[in-house]
Symmetry: C3
Subunit: 341 residues, 3 copies
Amino acid sequence: MADARFYTASGPLTLAQIAEIAGATIGEGGDPQRRFTDVAALDAAGAGDVGFLDNRKYASTLAQSRAGACLLRPELAARAPAGMAVLLTPTPYKGYARVAKAFYPEPPASGKIDPRAVVADTAKLGDRVSVGANAVIGARAEIGSDCVIGPNAVIGDGVAIGEGTRIGAGASLSHCVIGSRVSVYPGVRIGQEGFGFAPDPAGHVKVPQLGRVLIGDDCEIGANTTIDRGTASDTVIGPGCMIDNLVQIGHNVRLGRGCVVVAQVGISGSTRLDDFVVVGGQGGLAGHLHIGEGARIAAQSGVHRDVGAGEIVGGYPAVPISEWRRQAAILKRLAKRKGEQ
Amino acid sequence: MADARFYTASGPLTLAQIAEIAGATIGEGGDPQRRFTDVAALDAAGAGDVGFLDNRKYASTLAQSRAGACLLRPELAARAPAGMAVLLTPTPYKGYARVAKAFYPEPPASGKIDPRAVVADTAKLGDRVSVGANAVIGARAEIGSDCVIGPNAVIGDGVAIGEGTRIGAGASLSHCVIGSRVSVYPGVRIGQEGFGFAPDPAGHVKVPQLGRVLIGDDCEIGANTTIDRGTASDTVIGPGCMIDNLVQIGHNVRLGRGCVVVAQVGISGSTRLDDFVVVGGQGGLAGHLHIGEGARIAAQSGVHRDVGAGEIVGGYPAVPISEWRRQAAILKRLAKRKGEQ
Amino acid sequence: MADARFYTASGPLTLAQIAEIAGATIGEGGDPQRRFTDVAALDAAGAGDVGFLDNRKYASTLAQSRAGACLLRPELAARAPAGMAVLLTPTPYKGYARVAKAFYPEPPASGKIDPRAVVADTAKLGDRVSVGANAVIGARAEIGSDCVIGPNAVIGDGVAIGEGTRIGAGASLSHCVIGSRVSVYPGVRIGQEGFGFAPDPAGHVKVPQLGRVLIGDDCEIGANTTIDRGTASDTVIGPGCMIDNLVQIGHNVRLGRGCVVVAQVGISGSTRLDDFVVVGGQGGLAGHLHIGEGARIAAQSGVHRDVGAGEIVGGYPAVPISEWRRQAAILKRLAKRKGEQ
């Protein structure tokens, strides 16, 4: 059960309500009026809790579980212990996400502007915007309705933010246009100048960065991540992208829709990712590359060439993943042989 | 000598006091009443300074040094120049650390709450807590005695902190319980939501993160490091862990006691490190792994499998360190052969 | 054209003025009195814009461009379309940087100290210093003329900053001396304690860090980068260094003049880089190394040995770049052979 200092469960919800929220159907014998008060992992759940089983590998946990209800695929329903209500769905994890959100909805924007926030006279705030203590909102900034600006965050002059977006504590934004329902985590830096200069032994000459950062709707930008603004054009993050912590996104980079970028990845200037690309943790992409739709890049890979749509690559330098696995296997064998001599 | 703008040496201390602080014994001919005013590196030290020699490689520095006293191992005592007091100990570096701390103790918490700090009415502060300008302390937060909260730091609602802990400038904490005598450096982000969502081309569905971050006593968390809170259970950092700058620790990760995690390491969700594991800089650990007690992971390694207690691994993907060295040697030889053709 | 919410072009400038700023000569037929209002990329430029062509690879863009003027090398002048004024220079990109800066000069320090800034009584501020809302400036700090301190930045006690330096939003500085015309980006952490302790199973013993960080004139320090202070001596960044985002610089590291350090690089304690060293993104350098003047380290390399002046290295562990390329080629061939079996 969640720590009451930090979380308050709403509810209870009936099995029928939960099924509807999850997009699931109630399995044989389930009582639609049975009430539930919380979500929990299968191995920690009790009679009032809803759990889920997504990975067949953990099917053995199911039989031992005391959860009152479980979201699972129809073919596993028979393995549920007696008395457990089953909720049938082809996508149990997604269903669980929705049910958990119903029990723990994000608290709405309070609409309270802390008296210690510093909001420019010319800034425009929508309805029910809440602004934390010591946050700073610059001249001509536009903040949509239902936004939450965290304590000590800094929103620069002219920045525009859509509706229902949340900016974390201590984050700073400048030279950017942010969509709706975006989560910007604490310490994020968006819109500062990119790394552009003409090298010169007499003193490198900085090139003014005159573009913006554009972030689409429904994105997440993880803690302490940095996204530089464009040089002449813009740095663009498409709608629905999930970006983890400590990621570096260089100037003029463009991400399509729904990309997933895991922690500590670096994407160099002007590289373009089409829709639904996935980059594993600590991966590095050189500049001016094109990564095709749905491509997947393994964790820690170093990508120096374009990657085609749907390709899966890994290694340093990155090659098709099966080739990388063969490289590792060969190297292992050669090293073993030498070790045996 | 330390810059007086930033440091003030307390002291002087007698050789006898220093020996006691260091847990060392005074070598032949040393005058217990001789007074010292500072610590210094052997090559910069003068007659009033205490130096140390830990690495036999630098033994030649000893003969040239003008340090008034030196912490060293008994077997090197004979190499000290005439007039230098020697302090004998099997652990000179640890002894030096203690002596340096005696000359430069951390200033105690001032007990001053800056009038520009924003402290919620329902927050509870212990004795002698100092709170910097523009720091924000949320509702129901509990801050133990002798804590120092830096300027512009943000402590979220309900956060609990032990005694004598220091929170750096601009750090932000939420959904966490922090031990005593912990150092949280500037810009650290603790307790934000982890990277958890059900992937879906129609829009990834975020999974509510309902756990906490628990940090044990005597930990150090380096600048701009990020530690995400758990999903259902907690993210746990055991007592005495040393975590460097820009490290990423994912949700549900668990570190035992005394682990050392060097800068820019990434540890993926649900991976578990037993006591005294060391991870070198920029190392990456995949999710759901188990790293045994005392295991050591070389810098920049990519770990995709469990590592046994006491094992030393390196490479990408990581293998036993001796195997990795052979791999590198073989590759070097093959490349040279080809280069000569 | 730049977004008017964020940028205002000064100007217009005549071709003669632009030529002088760029250090270029006007090509045949160019009208020195012709006026220009902006800079733009060649493929987006119109009659009032100045573009540039630096990379011969993009020469085909030139013929299609509608730019009113173009900075280029003399040998490409003949390829410019009729009506385009050409500005001849051996360094078009550097010329462009200067022209862009003339159209978009950094706004001078406003000299306004926000009433919500917290400036210690004993701090000394030069002329025309501007200090953002909720910035905190500590006791005895010295800030030179024309500096701009961003909102929510924290300048620690005793910190000294030269003239015309800019400190980004939310950055924090302590135990450091910063030169003139330095750009410190948002979220940077300078001067916190380095990662130094005597390992001990009974509890690692922290070694007091008693040095400083010294940053030379004309440096750039990228967003969320961390630079630890020295242990006994100082951590030193030479003049004119360009450091990108999320870089980690350990205690006692020394960089010479004009070094370029790309995003997410980590440099371990006491390593020394001579002038004009370049380190590619995500590169890692072990501690106590010496990297010679003008050496270049490829992105993601792991450097465990000294690198000579002018050497170019790559790989993990890093070897001369040509050797690393051969290693990759051999591995590729071996893997292919096995794949075909």
